[in-house]
């Protein structure tokens, strides 16, 4: 039962996507072209995110840690 209503909801979402991007009005070959382009772009973006985002986050984290660590040492040396 839940699966059926989930499937209906997903189909309705797909219909909304079709209406908003006007692929509802396109001929089948145009739809194929449009979806291929979209899915390719989406996959590229996701793949790039998968590769680069963890590296960037860890680099940023290290940078802030380094900054914070330096500050600690400085205050220690000043206060004595």
């Amino acid at each position: 039962m839940d699966v059926k209503s989930m499937k209906n909801y997903l189909y309705w979402l797909y219909c909304q996507f079709e209406l908003i991007t006007c692929s509802y009005l396109m001929e089948p070959w145009e739809k194929l072209l449009f979806y291929t382009f979209n899915i390719t772009m989406l996959v590229t973006v996701l793949y790039t995110a998968y590769i680069f985002v963890p590296v960037h986050i860890s680099m940023a984290f290290q940078f802030f840690l380094h900054l914070f660590g330096n500050q600690q040492e400085n205050t220690v040396s000043v206060v004595k």
């Binding site: 309705w12 219909c15 909304q16 079709e18 209406l19 908003i20 991007t21 006007c22 692929s23 509802y24 009005l25 396109m26 001929e27 145009e30 449009f34």
Partner: protein, 550 residues
Amino acid sequence: MERPDRAAAALGARPRANGCSSAAHGTLRNGYINHIVHNGGLYKRPFNEAFEETPMLVAVLTYVGYGVLTLFGYLRDFMRQWKIEKCQNATEREEQKDFVPLYQDFENFYNRNLYMRIRDSWNRPICSVPGAKVDMMERVSHDYNWTFTYTGRVIKDIINMGSYNYLGFAQNAGTCQEAADKVLSQYGAGVCSTRQEMGNLDKHEELEKLVARFLGVESAMAYGMGFATNSMNIPALVGKGCLILSDELNHASLVLGARLSGATIRIFKHNNMQSLEKLLKDAIVHGQPRTRRPWKKILILVEGIYSMEGSIVRLPEVIALKKKYKSYLYLDEAHSIGALGPSGRGVVEYFGLNPEDVDVMMGTFTKSFGAAGGYIGGKKELIDYLRTSSHSAVYATSMSPPVVEQIITSMKCIMGEDGTTVGKARVQQLAENTRYFRRRLKEMGFIIYGNEDSPVVPLMLYMPAKIGAFGREMLKRNIGVVVVGFPATPIVESRARFCLSAAHTKEMLDTALKEINEVGDLLQLKYSRHRLVPLLDRPFDETTYEETED
């Protein structure tokens, strides 16, 4: 609804310049551009007009949709140019390719690439009288709307929400039809002449006297075509050296008539009296552009109900301005005659004004009277002048006698002179239907434009794919609607326009509303956020056309 509270609160509001007063702040909800005017006695009833602002997300997505379609349009044009795809639309011949291109402007691009995709929602052939229910011939297209074929099946009893049948006189049985039948056997169908030569029948004289009595003017003249009434008579009234002040959203017939006349045309913002007054003041103070001479005539062109917006003209204010600056008023009551006013006499009666204040009252018989043609009413000298000098009177064939009889019978029915109360009942039924339908649609959450009392109900769709989807889905559910897009409306404000009728029973309206609700949920059309902006208390200047929230 809340109207009595708002009216009561508004009565205590303080007056502004020009006699206008704005409603008190606490009575309106945010985001809803609502104009309620209580104007020191100019308006005898609250004037409730609203044009809700487009939600930002919807506007962005509409542009996204149009962007995608434009890109695909360029792709298809490229393919057609390089013969990868067969070109099915009109192009120039090979010999003409070196001349000025005919089909490269935006309108033709739109036509080839966007209009063709949703073309099946228009020009649908009907095969019965367009009353409250209509029969339609089913057609399919196998090449994406470039050509259509009929399947042979007739879709029966489609609820007709698109015909201008305000009082339900589009009937093929009843008193009007019997009277027209008798006249047809007596006079025949054709007149074979113009009014000035041999085409002036006694039926035409009878009709004109009746129209003059109906409107409350001295004299009237009837023409065979409503569009021609406007476009052929405005040139007879004004010429070079005159000024025409025309509303932004006037009908094509008024625009054409104004351009044909050769007068200077200035546009004022839709239904905006401050804009009109500014133009009038400038015209009187500065006169004609180079010579500074005073204008020979200033003519204000307005319509009673604007059919794309569903708004009603602010007639009391227009008449007050007209009297103050000594100009003339041309009122086009194409949609409002028969549809407004307690006894159906139009927008002048709706506001309780004197018909003699309007210099030229024009209207059509196409909408509320179930016939065809137009009329102009006014003072006797004016109409006598138009009889001799209007192009329509001199060159156009006069009206066909059965059509004239249909108008005479329906007008007598509305006035109550046929001895029954059918006319009065129809006018009241239309007003009830209008209020009920609009209230229900607003409660469902759609964005509806226009005045509370106008029988033309535009429902906003915005996105181009939804135009086609709405038309098709409603037809699947046996309801015929008219959807409108560019170029009749601005490109991002496409809408579905419902025309209510006195012939619609409450059951029909309930069925229609149920289906509209379903389709609205299916297509996600319920954009209204019911936000109202309190009316801002500052004087009008050029940049403040739409009230926005602070």
